[in-house]
Symmetry: C2
Subunit: 338 residues, 2 copies
Amino acid sequence: MSDTVLLAHGSGGRLSHDLVRRYFCPAFDNPLLAEMNDAATFALSGADGDRLAFTTDSYVVSPIFFPGGDIGHLAVCGTVNDLATSGARPLYLSAAFVLEEGLPLADLERVVQSMRRSAEDAGVSIVTGDTKVVHRGAADRLFITTAGVGVIPAGVYIGGSNARPGDAIILSGTIGDHGIAVLSQREGLSFSSPVVSDCAPLNGLVSAMLEASVDVRVLRDPTRGGLATTLNEIAAQSGVGIIIEEAAIPVSDGVRGACEMLGFDPLYIANEGKMVAIVAAEAAEAVLSSMHDHPYGKQASIIGRVRAEHPGRVVMKTRLGTSRIVDMLSGELLPRIC
Amino acid sequence: MSDTVLLAHGSGGRLSHDLVRRYFCPAFDNPLLAEMNDAATFALSGADGDRLAFTTDSYVVSPIFFPGGDIGHLAVCGTVNDLATSGARPLYLSAAFVLEEGLPLADLERVVQSMRRSAEDAGVSIVTGDTKVVHRGAADRLFITTAGVGVIPAGVYIGGSNARPGDAIILSGTIGDHGIAVLSQREGLSFSSPVVSDCAPLNGLVSAMLEASVDVRVLRDPTRGGLATTLNEIAAQSGVGIIIEEAAIPVSDGVRGACEMLGFDPLYIANEGKMVAIVAAEAAEAVLSSMHDHPYGKQASIIGRVRAEHPGRVVMKTRLGTSRIVDMLSGELLPRIC
């Protein structure tokens, strides 16, 4: 047990969860936080009305510009997507900037314009904000923290603890693109098939899915820690087992090649434009079809199912026909990926 | 005109305003942001219901522990107070942490426990959050960004553009305590009268003021840039002149002595537990009396009035009987004070 903060505390994996469970949850103890979803949800005025969703994330990605996006695009999409995972329609965002003295204002302008475009794409307004400046060397260029507020329509109850045995697990597209794109930019790597971040606002996709069926039970965007960590979180929260098929999980040629070269498992690489949905079996085809009609869900597929056996455990049937346990990310794979 | 970010861009004064006006407002252009209040306010479901307030701030104070508080206490109180300036009852906070690799976990625990106590004092819940970790040297120990959501009761409309000629200007207590306390800790200064930060949640005080009168028109907490900058903001937003009396502005002996020694003007020093209120003249005594009954308003006083002459300008009658123009802070006085 370390007595200082380690990079792995920010991995999104096991040590991140330990930090939250040991320090934040006991201190801030309240039922909304205890649900451990990406957004807190609550009713404001009586039980019959719409509920609100509220979420935040800090973005410290390095470098701040990368193939397919930048820290500003990420900061808007990340918070929009966390709201969308609660079934909320994202409405308003805040944006707080920590700037390093000496940052070129042209870089700030580029990031801000990117945020503007992303907010327009997502149909949200950035309505409040803050700017702090620290001495040269006291921060690395630019950190952005966004928070967001959205409205959850009456009758929609989505959360990590709702998965039930028999449910289908749907993934909206290829995995690993964001993490590999940032890594390639940071390390100056180039691959035969270039990899571009998948960073995108998924609230439109989620709306289409919820129109297709009310039986969407869990939504989560597999960011830090990747698909493997997200599925482990859901298995633990719902007290169910999860079984997935390796052959059903889409991976682009570029990501596959990069992962083979670097010794990474795409299951653990961050995504910023993908959604995992757990859906009642009888609703799966309708939801899948609605996703295929949406630009961000064209490669959606059913990758597995929820089962009663082995609660809390995620198992993958490999292409070779064997089974292996897929654990939560331990240690830190790619620091400062988001 | 610099082409890089300067420390003064984070001062809360003239260059901060220029940065917001030049980069953020045009890009994120929307009517809520354009109001330029500390919290954005909006109705969610029809015009008759309560409105919501939403705000955010990043905290980068150095050192993270100082007399009277720490970065966690500040992060909770600052966002609670920004909500209170809209007349909102603060309900829910988010907390996003950027941690430097190597930060002692004991320091994190101390900060988190302080946030817990501050949230309890303010009657708010921290319901959602995030943790990122950056390499050693890529951030200075610990930055916290809080966002907050609150409910504004029907009939309350408070904003920086509501000041009218004849209104009274009330200040809730002494100025300069927070800035001088942080500076003394950072620079290892000691004064004959020790100075302790005034950092406190002011939502209870604001509730008492709003109960005393519905004619509270503007509320603002004079943080970065100090009382001088806050009054200039209000004068500009409302298109009015402001005249204040130096002799009516409470300053503690410790702050006065430190400012004389260091060559600072207390009007420009940050506060974290003070409120400026602009109130209809006929309501001033009732509001003042309600403040005197509250622990955080015991030294409240009427420090001046709003006038039609010299719109956009703040003038102070000095103890010597002369008048001087009090401008917004230009340059940077005390970096990383909050």
